[in-house]
């Protein structure tokens, strides 16, 4: 039993980088609980100043290798909004298709490679190659297919090339899309097997209701575009995000902290499912219910399951999108629309795998950025992670130090803060006081 604890998880990173968890408990009371984020600041808001409208999507893609597609699209949307560009329906469908597969790729990486080892009592995916070869093979294959589809349409799996302001530099062929469809169909047996395995995992029971924020629209389960919606009962246009979302600098973190209606909120798969469950594919809804879950769900640990269920949705919806594209026929002349520089402000809001991502640019009349603001999902979650930990620790204070440490790590990891974030967490220094 832990009366006094001094847990330091270090290093542990930010969106992509380093951070620490500091937990100080005296006489069963939390004296200090912080996710310290000393990760190198990147200064993208400064790097963007003066750049031409063709460049920001390539620049901001480099914020994160894991969600480079989401940054690309949030950036492109902001620019298109500012310059008054309306892309073709074909472009929108192809963009959604790529976005789905970044979501699949990233969710897959987290669920199978990063979170699963916790539930199976090992330190990484490596021992699972021997103990659970079937699941590791499924994960590797699923990730490969998702990456391949991003590559087919985007020209490259990490940092896509063809996706530009106005449309695509090059569109895939119908054969490419048919090949993608075949690959997607081949995933269904793997999803079934995964469901069986995931259902056997013991997911901690922990509930803390919070504010859940994601984009939402009337047409589909919103991943690519929509208004910003909160479970606290408000919906706003992306352009008005500053009226609700507040960012502030805190000393222990180079990642800013965020709040909206309350002192913290959650973004990501669970937030999306809580907001837009009814728009998931029927198949995905059934998978969610297979875990005995309903909505709203207040168990942060279930974000892992939400990620898996979103993979099911993305596979279903991608097949639907491909069928529509093939039915309408791919048209080279619809791959680009004209883009002209003009002064103005524009905002892009997409769902990165880890949650709502906002790019906000102001352009001058030459089509160069004069001001940029970016709000990153992992930043949005920091304050909520700290609040979750503050609720979790007293509830498990009777457990052993090792159990408490692991539970804290698993809780943080459930947010999928970023691939390196989560794995850094595995290295913990625990000092007794």
């Amino acid at each position: 039993m832990a009366t006094n604890l001094n847990i330091e998880v270090s290093p542990l990173p930010r969106v992509e980088g380093h951070g620490d968890l500091v937990l100080d408990v005296k006489n069963k009371k939390i004296e200090k609980l912080q996710m310290r984020i000393p990760e190198s600041p990147r200064f993208f808001e400064a790097m963007l100043v003066g750049r031409k409208y063709t460049e920001p999507s390539h620049i901001t893609s480099r914020i994160c290798g894991i969600c480079s597609v989401a940054h690309t699209f949030s950036s492109i949307q902001a620019t298109e909004d500012a310059l008054g560009v309306k892309v073709t329906d074909q472009t929108l469908k192809l963009r959604k298709l790529i976005n789905h597969h970044e979501c699949t790729q990233s969710n897959c990486l987290h669920v199978y490679f990063l979170a699963a080892p916790d539930f199976l009592g090992v330190g990484s995916v490596v021992p699972l190659i021997k103990t659970h070869p079937d699941v590791v093979n499924i994960a590797v294959n699923m990730k490969k297919i998702a990456n391949e589809i991003v590559r087919i349409i985007g020209g490259r799996a990490v940092h896509p090339i063809t996706t530009v302001v106005g449309g695509f530099t090059k569109i895939p062929t119908e054969e490419d899309l048919l090949r993608a469809k075949d690959m997607l169909i081949s995933l269904y047996p793997d999803l079934e097997t995964s469901l069986k395995v995931l259902k056997t995992l013991k997911i901690p029971e922990f509930e803390r209701e919070t504010e859940y924020i994601s984009i939402s629209n009337n047409e589909d389960y919103a991943l690519y575009s929509g208004d910003i919606k909160s479970t606290d009962g408000w919906t706003i246009k992306p352009q008005d995000y500053l009226t609700k979302l507040v960012e502030n600098v805190v000393q222990h973190s180079t990642g800013k902290h965020c709040r909206a209606s309350r002192d913290s909120y959650m973004v990501g798969s669970l937030a999306r499912i809580n907001n837009n469950f009814s728009q998931l594919s029927d198949n995905a809804k059934t998978y969610w219910q297979e875990f005995g879950l309903s909505v709203p769900c207040y168990n942060t640990f279930m974000n892992n399951i939400a990620q898996f269920v979103e993979i099911v949705h993305c596979v279903d919806d991608s097949i639907k999108l491909i069928d529509k594209l093939l039915e309408e026929g791919l048209d080279e002349s619809k791959s680009m629309v004209e883009v002209k520089a003009k002064a103005g402000r524009g905002v892009g809001a997409v769902e990165a795998p880890r949650g709502l991502l906002i790019h906000d640019y102001t352009y001058d009349s030459d089509g160069r950025i004069s001001k940029a603001n970016l709000i990153i999902p992992t930043n949005m979650n920091y304050a909520n992670i700290e609040n979750d930990l503050a609720a979790l620790v007293p509830a498990i204070i009777e457990q052993s130090e090792d159990e408490i440490r692991l539970a804290c790590e698993m809780l943080i990891r459930a947010y999928d803060p970023c691939i390196s974030c989560s794995t850094h967490m595995l290295n913990v220094e625990l000092i007794n006081k």
């Binding site: 190198s40 990147r42 490679f113 190659i129 990490v158 090339i161 600098v249 794995t423």
Partner: protein, 249 residues
């Protein structure tokens, strides 16, 4: 060198290069078997401070990066810079152009003194780099090739010709014909012209070739009504840290 102990490290960057190692997929399990990965922050919990080969991603942008890199430099016998950030400082150098102090004020306001940030530099400014896997991101096969060459005791082959050669080989129509400007004539190849192949101008993310034929590039620009300034702005995207005299050499 048998089964080398390998450490994979990330400094300031996007994590995309490390992700490309994880994206090896079919080759990933073979890769894990061929080398002894003792440190890989993105994927493996266990870590060791004993390694012969260090694969380093990211640029040096904080004092903390400097400390970590100098330590890695003392431990590792062979250092491989992976990706544009490690090789040239990459995109992070755009911050230097804006001004590091100014950038701190812009992003963190009056809290700027809480922030550890220095002018971005490539890792070769601090440690001796043995091999470079260039690009943003580098190709997966290139990372594997370098490591494979080390294991069998060969010197990894690095492309020393421009991207134009690869375009010609692939039969691509020159992008200038479509009115798209492209760094192909001076940019280092090795990527199989992946951007021009999808009708997107090369941004020289692999840096320039050792002895670029600047005049050929200038002639080409003139022919299509463009200026050196037009193209240098694009070159800055990944090469802002490369000194100007080097650029115009």
């Amino acid at each position: 060198m048998g089964k080398p102990k390998v450490g994979i490290f990330g400094l300031t960057g996007c994590g995309g290069c490390q992700l490309e190692v994880l994206n090896l997929e079919d080759q990933l399990l073979d890769f894990i078997n061929a080398v002894d990965i003792v440190h890989f922050t993105e994927a493996i919990s266990e870590h060791s401070d004993t390694y012969e080969v260090a694969l380093i991603e990211g640029s040096v942008s904080t004092m903390h990066d400097v400390e970590r890199l100098e330590h890695i430099g003392k431990v590792a016998k062979i250092i491989i810079a992976v990706g544009a950030c490690a090789c040239t400082g990459g995109l992070n150098c755009l911050k230097n152009i804006y001004g590091t102090e100014k950038a701190k004020v812009l992003v963190y306001g009056d809290k700027k003194d809480w922030i550890d940030a220095i002018d971005t530099k490539p890792i070769s400014d601090y440690v001796k780099v043995d091999y470079y896997a260039r690009g943003c991101p580098p190709t997966r096969s290139e990372i594997v090739d370098i490591v494979r060459s080390l294991i069998v005791g060969k010197t990894p082959e690095i492309s020393s010709y421009p991207v134009c050669v690869e375009c010609k080989r692939l039969g691509n129509t020159c992008l200038y014909e479509f009115g798209i400007s492209c760094m192909g004539p001076v940019a280092r190849a090795g990527c199989n012209a992946r951007c021009p192949s999808v009708k997107s101008g090369c941004e020289a993310c692999r840096g320039s070739i050792d002895d670029p034929n600047i005049n050929a590039q200038k002639d080409l620009l003139e022919q299509y009504g463009l200026t050196v300034e037009d193209i240098m702005e694009g070159f800055n995207l990944y090469n802002a840290c490369v000194k100007l005299e080097q650029k115009s050499k």
